[in-house]
Symmetry: C2
DNA sequence: AATAAAATTGTAACAATTACAAATATAAAA
DNA sequence: TTTTATATTTGTAATTGTTACAATTTTATT
């Protein structure tokens, strides 16, 4: 399925900008922030506005086609991977890594049993990644 | 142990402002943002500056005496409860609720086994709380 | 081809946070 | 106690991420 159809499957009307943004999101698993997307796509779409990037992500999230990560206090990051997974952000290099989780149903069921309606699960770890630890040891 | 000694136990030199802020944090489990603290303490400390509240939280976090929650995209929230627990934020009323978790050691051990050094665990849920669901049903 | 609706754009406004220098308070030394 | 040095607090200004909004452009409809 191409990006055009992928957007349609979320009831999102495709446009040049929306396709480009979703395409970037699906091809780059870097959990990009607004600026990363904006700067990357400016080359291809010189008229692109940062407001459009904001608007588009708002739309994607409303339609369930992307998720917003608040793991980085400075910037909102976006994730096109809709599967259940956790994230790890390195405090040194800032890189965000995907972490597989076995969805702990028990905890969610517990919440639901208490009358909470769960719409989002965010699971973050912070610390230092192996690469940065390694570099540090060599100094 | 009083707040004065509590701060000292984190190697934080107590001051009128620092004691007041930590005292508020320990007595109010509302996960307050900067403004909530600032407005609440202004009554007692009329000269209080918002910059001091920012500085103080930065200090608390550096010394491990508080944690910052990024669960709310709008504002950073603070938590003085250092025990392992998750959070739930209601998308309607915005209230943040503490959720007990049985620390899933397996997942952390797994990460550590891969060479990650874990310093923080954040575990957020979002949805609608029982109170707001109830209100909605009555409309 | 004309019209209406939707999407994009750029600017300005806004709000949270930080930088910074001046003022105040605290601690140490004389 | 007085002086001096250090740490803390304060207020303002600057910065940054985000949103509001009106004008423009694009797309769809008649």
């Amino acid at each position: 399925m191409n990006v055009y159809e992928y957007l349609l499957s979320f009831q999102i009307k495709p446009s040049v900008q929306r396709i480009a943004i979703m395409d970037y999101l699906l091809k780059h698993k870097t959990h990009p922030c607004i600026d990363e997307i904006y700067l990357a796509l400016c080359k291809d779409i010189p008229t692109l506005s940062k407001t459009t990037v904001y608007n588009t992500f708002k739309l994607f999230i409303e339609h369930g086609a992307a998720r917003m990560l608040t793991i980085d206090e400075r910037n909102a990051c976006f994730d096109g991977d809709l599967s259940a997974h956790a994230h790890f952000q390195c405090k040194v290099c800032g890189k965000i890594t995907d972490i597989p989780i076995k969805q702990e149903e028990t905890e969610m069921e517990n919440l639901q049993g208490k009358g909470f309606s769960i719409e989002e699960v965010h699971h973050y770890y912070k610390g230092i990644c192996p690469e940065c630890l390694e570099k540090n040891n060599n100094n």
